[in-house]
């Protein structure tokens, strides 16, 4: 067994409270983040059955404003920004000129001329530089990432916990919505999305207020079975519902269509960066597709980058992969040529030089109820 460490790493504003709750901290996307507290399985199941609280302070928040903000964003992102009303959000992509994914993010319209973006931790600088390089008159881009602490509160009892803590001070927005309020003199932003397949919300507040809120959500959530949850559970939860991970399932060399995420691409809205490549793929074929696979029979859990073989020949590698705590089975995703990307295709996963059987299955692995 071995440990790793990194001296040049960013600390979340919640670091001390994580230590208080017994977190094991690991380097992730340039940050020192809690990977687990009580154990990934217990945390995963708390979110599936009750409620869990994650620190997402490492994620980035941009505010795009100005009279041309909406029209400009419509050319930078794949979503149709014109379809968003005030207080509404949408999962979307920022693409490069080749149609590859720079980042997947959520964009919310807070007012006719103001938008709130939540971006991946590892992509804050790159996203900002990409957008800043394309700015036009009438558009202002601000990076608020360091000013905010963020919590993701997820699970079927997350709204009960919300009622207890926030109550009438700010109504929980509808699915994909955003709401902002002053509570006891503090600004809080609540977005109802999440990346676990459960009902839940993201709670943003000033960095210095983060530890207090994290502690309140965890301790006052005890009666609902709430656990503080780390990145380990977040990863297994989102994989079970086949939500993609940027850098693993999404990359600058593959399009959202190949990743099976056409729902987040508005081809009919007019021009946007990368559109021509996507249009060509729709006309000529995708070439390959991201599929879900499940291990067949007893095997070690699959992991990212394990080689994938079809008819005895290695032709791909696993993207996100691991053991599903809800199903107790090895699951993963991989890109396959479209002719093989069919439910029931038999594949093999090479695990430390031994081949184990797996098969392509329908997405997602886990469905509520």
């Amino acid at each position: 067994m071995a440990n790793s460490s990194d001296a040049d790493i960013k600390q979340t504003p919640l670091r001390e409270v994580h230590e208080k709750f017994g977190a094991r901290m690991v380097p992730f996307a340039g940050w020192n983040m809690p990977v687990q507290y009580s154990g990934i399985k217990a945390e995963h199941l708390a979110v599936r059955n009750d409620v869990g609280v994650f620190d997402i302070s490492h994620m980035g928040q941009f505010i795009v404003s100005g009279e041309n903000a909406g029209a400009w964003l419509n050319r930078q992102l794949t979503a149709d920004i014109n379809k968003l009303g005030d207080g509404q959000g949408q999962y979307t992509f920022m693409l490069n000129e080749q149609g590859g994914v720079i980042d997947d993010l959520i964009i919310y319209r807070t007012a006719a001329d103001s938008y709130f973006m939540v971006v991946n931790a590892s992509m804050i600088d790159e996203d900002y530089a990409w957008l800043a390089g394309k700015l036009e008159d009438g558009v202002t881009l601000e990076n608020h990432s360091d000013a905010w602490a963020g919590l993701a509160v997820q699970g079927p009892k997350s709204s009960d916990l919300y009622s207890k803590l926030i109550g009438d001070a700010l109504a929980l927005p509808p699915r994909n919505g955003i709401a902002t309020a002053e509570v006891d003199g503090e600004t809080i932003v609540v977005c109802r999305t999440g990346y676990t397949g459960e009902d839940g919300y993201e709670f943003f507040c000033a960095s210095e207020q983060g530890p207090k809120w994290f502690e309140r959500f965890v301790t006052e959530g005890e009666e609902f079975g709430c656990l503080p949850c780390g990145l380990g559970a977040r990863d297994s939860l989102r994989l079970e519902v086949c939500y993609p991970l940027n850098g693993s399932d999404l990359s600058p060399t593959r399009t959202p269509l190949q990743a099976g995420l056409k729902f987040a691409v508005a081809m009919d809205k007019g021009e946007f960066t990368g559109r021509s490549v996507l249009a060509k793929q729709l006309e000529e074929g995708l070439g390959e597709r991201l599929v879900a696979f499940k291990m067949v029979g007893k095997s070690p859990p699959p992991r990212p980058h394990y080689p994938v073989a079809v008819n005895g020949e290695i032709i791909s590698e696993a993207c996100s992969a691991g053991l599903s705590p809800s199903l107790n089975e090895g699951i993963g995703m991989t890109y396959l040529p479209t002719e093989l990307a069919k439910i029931g295709t038999q594949i093999e996963i090479d695990i430390r030089g031994r081949r184990f059987n797996a098969e392509i299955v329908k997405k997602p692995f886990y469905k509520k109820g």
């Binding site: 067994m1 154990g39 990934i40 007893k298 070690p300 859990p301 992991r303 053991l323």
Partner: protein
Amino acid sequence: MNVPDDLKYTESHEWIRIEGDTITVGITDHAQEELTDVVFVEVPDADEALEAGDPAAVVESVKAASDIYAPVDGVIVEGNEGLADEPDLVNTDPYGEGWIYRLKVNDVADLDGMLSADQYRELLG
């Protein structure tokens, strides 16, 4: 933290029970607690010859795969097949039913370099 006095230890958190020229190896209570939720254990086949430092087995938690090393040169006597159905024995009974493999050592003098329980406790701090 449970560190039995009658065992030897390695800096990589394996425990060693010495019976003549054969040793039984597992991972310590500390190691299983660090890993949490062991979901799969790949044990070595009998008759496999290993040198000190070679990976002998793999213990997998939900999050990661960790190699378990051979502390000295030797030949595998058996892997704990019981872990195939109950890998969590490594968590619940790390010094008992959760043992991982048995090794016939080439030279028992090599075992002199292993840590005592007190030395291992000191390592854990």
